[in-house]
Symmetry: C2
Subunit: 191 residues, 2 copies
Amino acid sequence: MTTATSNADASKVNNGVNVEALLGAREALEKAPEAAQFKWRASCEWLNGTHSRSTIEGFQGLGGEQTREKSFKVEADHPTQFASEDNAPTPVELLLSGLASCLTAGVAAVAQRRGIQLHSVKATLEGDMDLAGILGIDEDVRNGFSAIRVHFDIKADASADDIKALVAQSQKRSAAFDVITNPTNVYVTVN
Amino acid sequence: MTTATSNADASKVNNGVNVEALLGAREALEKAPEAAQFKWRASCEWLNGTHSRSTIEGFQGLGGEQTREKSFKVEADHPTQFASEDNAPTPVELLLSGLASCLTAGVAAVAQRRGIQLHSVKATLEGDMDLAGILGIDEDVRNGFSAIRVHFDIKADASADDIKALVAQSQKRSAAFDVITNPTNVYVTVN
């Protein structure tokens, strides 16, 4: 994990990530494992048809309830091709965005840690889905993606190999990548 | 799947979902399985630090490339507690929103199909995460959620059992629920 960099100007590298603070957090949480137990939350309100609005506010962690100065709204809907109003992305496009943003933030953080100045990072994602699953046409077809492809186009002051290694390390530590590639238990209750 | 309803006013039920169009789509795709092959997409641009912006535009399906009249932007960031700027929800909160909105849209569609008038649907989600994973403190701790709980609070012209059955059927046909509860292959390439 610790990488000696050959970049003489590593101290001038600025990807906008405060690596010292993150390393400090890691050290603190290593000593206080209960503070590393987090609960992330979202609530979702049905608007009409397939249109809904999620609200994201506080979370629990670092030994207590954490508040934010603002709350975030994330809407979802289905497209007109399914007789919906296309007010917002589909839920599965939100999943792709979550995966994309997690890997992208990871690339920036790892690059900062390794003294690599980034110039641009673009991820392009595509997820294959056979709608015979969700439409109930074929019970043998899964509802979700059969595969997701992520392509990164990165410009940085580093060799092609070092750039590939940034993405590999980001993948290795990505929460969203883990949630999507491995099974996660979801418990649903009503009223 | 076909449910006879005892609701004499089933024709007056309006949850804003065009069930006839969905049943028509199912019938059409049953006859043309290649048209049921979809590709959903997102691209993600790094802005600064852990802040990124995903763009969602067209998708492939129904036998061709599908365009939208607009494009959608979904931002993500990390909170101030991790020395970030909290410009947007975290990637994992986007995953929770995707799951919430998929199950919620499903509840509305199934209710319409079953002749049940909805009055309100609210989903509250919480995902447990031990940050010892993503911070690299403990290799035995996964990066993603150890569990997700979804609680639905639904007001509808239906019995408690019928309301529970709506959620169960939505779960059974939810793309996002499947992506999160089952493993999905993600292939990552660089430059």
